[in-house]
């Protein structure tokens, strides 16, 4: 019997390579097209699209402004939360730590809608109260660079919390203890030992978050478009969907953004590798939390405060809004109704949008998980030539995938196109998740099966796959969640017959009422949270069997 690896591997490499490299090649060509943007391949070549970027520095300025504010906010929030939740003894720490994952699953889109409902000019619920107690202006206008940055920090910045608390957790507590034993007080230890140890982690988290904020779309879209405040991502959207579409300009912007993100991420990686003392061992220590005495309750309050603004308040605002005819918090004016939900389901395109999102979610994750599992196995378990190159290729897509917008095959406006695009965009996510699981499975477990006499196929079936199963289920759910909430790619590739949820919510927000959008947003959130609940159960099982 021939080893099936001989043909599986090259086919996978070809398919995945084509999916990632094709759009990239298209983008590069298009960005040098200075002729008719509708004609492909281009008839006139030039760097005009790139030069144009600098003739209009407003968009770049906006992007840097919003990304900087959001990064600072996210890192400050992340640091405080990480410190409270990993290093202090506050009541209910474990529960809070689990709740910290929710803002990410809430998605920046839902977050932006909710904060729009709360702090929109004049009609925002908080601003209504503010005006009703006698003030003549708004408490705060969320349709502003600061507002956009606030939402991005809350809903996309949780990665800062994850990275900083990982750095804090991976620090050997005996390093601090030896400082205490040698006579240094709590404060001195914190300044001379703890801070220098976590500083590289914080720095790389900052850079990483900044890169992410540069490519952020949803918040700037929902809160920026009404005031015609554009960042790079929304400007790309504007130039591809305006008439006539300016693909060349969009491509140049997209590639510049991609380049900026790549450089920033590379920088973060270098810093992590060279500067980090804390994570060298890769061992998970259980840090001994500090006894903070009377400060316990104020600190707990701060931690819960974050959950309140990132989860509870937005969900409450959306819920309240979705059941009203006209959203208000002034009790005598409230008119409760189920009409929004009725409309949400009845609205011609919305039922199909939900169905399409479900179909895409299930299909994409079911196809992606086995493919990515084999890829991960090749990259991390074999010595095949070119496997490291694969790792980099697979990590490319995130920023450039809307390039599928202009493809020569008749897929445009179909679910197939969305499916292919999703698959490619989620490759990095899937690969990171599954690679984590693959590396957790001790290699000798597989080797032992071989030595016991099992063939490769038998070993895969009886040892490798059963051990990976919980991780694969988790990856499936993660990709499903990512598909259902996907906005950045869908908004470019959705056709009239292939509507999906997130862009539909946005168009309802921009063209119809906030009450209807709130109802739709809540429905999407419920879908995602159900998947998240299952995910958490699976994750618990994984840690249960491996402990």
């Amino acid at each position: 019997m021939r080893d099936p690896r001989v043909w599986i591997v090259p086919i996978l490499i070809l398919v995945v390579g084509a999916l990632v490299l094709y759009p990239l090649a298209f983008l590069i060509t298009e960005s040098f097209n200075i002729g008719d943007p509708q004609i492909f391949p281009p008839e006139e070549w030039g760097a005009g699209n790139y030069i144009q970027l600098f003739e209009e520095p407003r968009v770049i300025g906006n992007t840097l402004l919003v990304a900087s504010i959001a990064t600072v906010l996210a890192v400050v929030f992340g640091f405080i939360q990480a410190w409270i939740l990993t290093r202090t003894q506050i009541p209910g720490r474990d529960r809070l730590e689990r709740l910290m994952e929710l803002p990410y699953y809430m998605t920046p889109l839902i977050g932006a809608l909710a904060w729009g409902v709360l702090l929109g000019p004049k009609t925002g619920l908080v601003n209504q109260v503010w005006r009703s107690v006698g003030f003549s202006s708004d408490f705060f206008n969320i349709y502003s660079p600061q507002g956009i940055a606030w939402v991005m920090a809350l809903f996309e910045g949780t990665v800062a919390f994850v990275m900083i608390s990982a750095a804090m957790k991976s620090m050997d507590p005996s390093l601090e203890e030896s400082s205490r034993v040698l006579g240094a007080g709590k404060l001195r230890t914190a300044l001379r030992i703890t801070l220098p140890m976590v500083a590289p982690g914080v720095l790389s988290a900052t850079i990483f978050v900044f890169a992410e904020m540069l490519g952020s779309f949803a918040a700037a879209f929902v809160l920026g478009i009404p005031g015609r405040f554009y960042v790079v991502t929304t400007a790309i959207w504007e130039s591809t969907l305006s008439y006539p579409p300016d693909y060349g300009h969009a491509a140049a912007m997209g590639l510049s953004l991609f380049g900026a993100m790549l450089i920033t991420l590379g920088l973060a990686r270098v810093i992590m590798r060279h500067g980090s003392y804390a994570t060298i061992t890769g061992k998970a220590f259980r840090p001994r939390p500090m006894d903070v005495g009377g400060l316990r309750y104020p600190l707990m309050g701060i931690a819960w405060g974050y959950i309140a603004v990132a989860v509870i308040l937005p969900l409450a605002a959306l819920t309240l809004t979705s059941f009203q005819r006209f959203a208000t918090v002034i009790i005598p004016q409230m008119q409760f109704t189920l009409a929004n939900y009725r409309t949400a389901f009845a609205l011609g395109s919305l039922g199909p949008a939900f169905a399409n999102s479900m179909i895409l979610g299930v299909t994409v994750s079911s196809v992606a998980v086995p493919v990515i599992a084999v890829l991960a196995w090749i990259i991390y378990r074999t010595t095949m030539p070119g496997r490291m190159l694969m790792e980099y290729v697979v990590m490319i897509p995130a920023a450039v995938l809307w390039a599928w917008i202009n493809i020569p095959i008749p897929l445009y406006g179909t679910l197939w196109l969305l499916g292919i695009a999703y698959f490619t965009v989620f490759l990095p996510l899937g690969l990171r998740t599954i690679a984590g699981v693959v590396s957790q499975v001790d290699k000798s477990l597989e080797e032992c099966a071989r030595v016991c006499g099992a063939s490769w196929v038998y070993q895969m079936r009886t040892v490798t796959l059963p051990l990976l199963r919980p991780g694969l289920v988790a990856a499936w759910l993660l990709i499903f969640i990512a598909s259902v909430r996907e906005l950045g790619v869908s908004v470019f590739l959705m056709g009239p017959n292939s509507k999906v949820i997130a862009p539909s919510i946005v168009s309802s927000w921009l063209s119809a009422s906030s009450e209807l959008s709130a109802a739709m947003a809540l429905l999407q959130t419920v879908m995602v949270f159900i998947a998240v609940a299952i995910l958490f159960r699976v994750a618990r099982q994984v840690t249960g069997t491996q402990a």
């Binding site: 000798s444 030595v451 051990l467 069997t545």
Partner: protein, 351 residues
């Protein structure tokens, strides 16, 4: 007939040579240990025999059959070699019960269910794990996992079992117990075993023969007594047991082969055998007396005394610096006392 034969084996990782022209043969029923510091190539050699590493050149025979060779090109995959292995991490599959773990090798071989049940029960009893058959294997302690790993390795009656530092993850007390049990089991079932360890005490205690490796090469092959009493190199003398290295040169070679060795400080030491060009004399700490009752006797003082329980370690000041001496705990002498160290010529090994 030999069970395992390794011929001029070379294993390379890129530019580094992990195993450098290693050759040895193991007879049926023998327990041979590969001993050496980490990175000496012992585990790589073992894994090459199992089929888990691809060598660069040389050959490997199992039961007379060529399973790997560079010329002619031949590479039997791990699962067809019929050897068995106990892994350092035990490699107990956490998603299976103890029974399923042990039965794996038998299932692969298509053995009938009734036979699997009786075989598994038999080997689990041998390792005193009979009561644990239906336990999920993730709930076992380290020592229990170790026993299951051994049971799994012997369940399908392999002719050769490879042990990759099987006891290194156990605490000292349990390790000493398991050492005895493993040796007992190996003798009883007459299993040909190749055993990798970096623990010299363990290697000496359980082996029929020991292969000392260093830097990818074999330093010495011999019985435990050979390795201990007649090390052939400074490395072996230093790595196995506790030895004093005394620098100097040979002044006289007598007709009977015995030699006189003059230390740097000028003391003369008689050795039973040795080469003219030797510059080092290795002397085991345990073979030195603190009374003038052996042929070589030199004055010294006790610098430090350390009580270890099973023995006392003395640091002696003598003309050539310091000498480590181990005596039974009954020989208790005060620090600072003047003594005479003495040792027999037979235990002076010239290198």
């Amino acid at each position: 007939m030999t069970r395992i034969e390794v011929i001029d084996l070379v294993v390379r990782y890129g530019d580094t040579t992990a195993v450098d022209r290693v050759s040895f043969a193991i007879a049926p029923g023998e327990l041979v240990t590969l001993l050496g510091p980490s990175g000496c190539g012992k585990t790589t050699t073992l894994r090459a025999i199992a089929g888990l590493e691809t060598p660069y050149s040389g050959g490997i025979r199992l039961n007379g059959d060529l399973v790997w060779s560079a010329q002619p090109r031949r590479n039997i995959p791990a699962e067809k070699r019929g050897v068995s292995m106990v892994f350092q991490s035990y490699a107990i599959w956490p998603h299976m019960t103890v029974f399923e773990n042990v039965a794996y090798g038998l299932r692969v071989r298509g053995v009938s269910n009734a036979e699997i049940r009786s075989n598994v029960a038999r080997v689990l009893d041998m390792v005193q794990m009979g009561a644990f058959a239906d336990r999920p294997s993730s709930a076992l302690s380290g020592g229990q996992q170790q026993r299951v790993a051994v049971a799994r390795a012997i369940a399908f009656s392999p002719t050769v079992v490879l042990f990759d530092e099987p006891l290194s993850n156990l605490d000292a007390k349990l390790r000493a117990e398991m050492r005895v049990e493993l040796r007992e089991l190996q003798r009883r079932l007459d299993i040909t075993s190749l055993y990798v360890t970096h623990d010299q005490e363990e290697a000496l205690a359980i082996s029929d023969r020991v292969i000392v490796m260093n830097g990818g090469r074999i330093e010495q092959i011999g019985s435990p007594e050979d390795i201990y009493n007649r090390p052939v190199s400074r490395f072996v003398a230093d790595f196995v047991g506790s030895a004093n290295m005394i620098e100097g040169g040979v002044t006289t070679v007598n007709a009977d082969g015995s030699v006189v060795f003059q230390t740097k400080a000028g003391s003369l030491i008689h050795a039973a055998a040795g080469q003219r060009d030797s510059t080092t004399l290795a002397l085991r700490s345990s073979y030195i007396h603190l009374h003038p009752d052996e042929a070589n006797a030199i004055a010294g003082t006790i610098h430090r005394r350390m009580f270890h329980g099973d023995f006392i370690q003395y640091v002696i000041d003598w003309p050539d610096g310091q000498l480590i001496v181990r005596r039974p705990p009954t020989e208790l002498l005060e620090e600072g006392s003047a003594i005479t160290v003495s040792f027999a010529p037979e235990y002076c090994v010239l290198l």
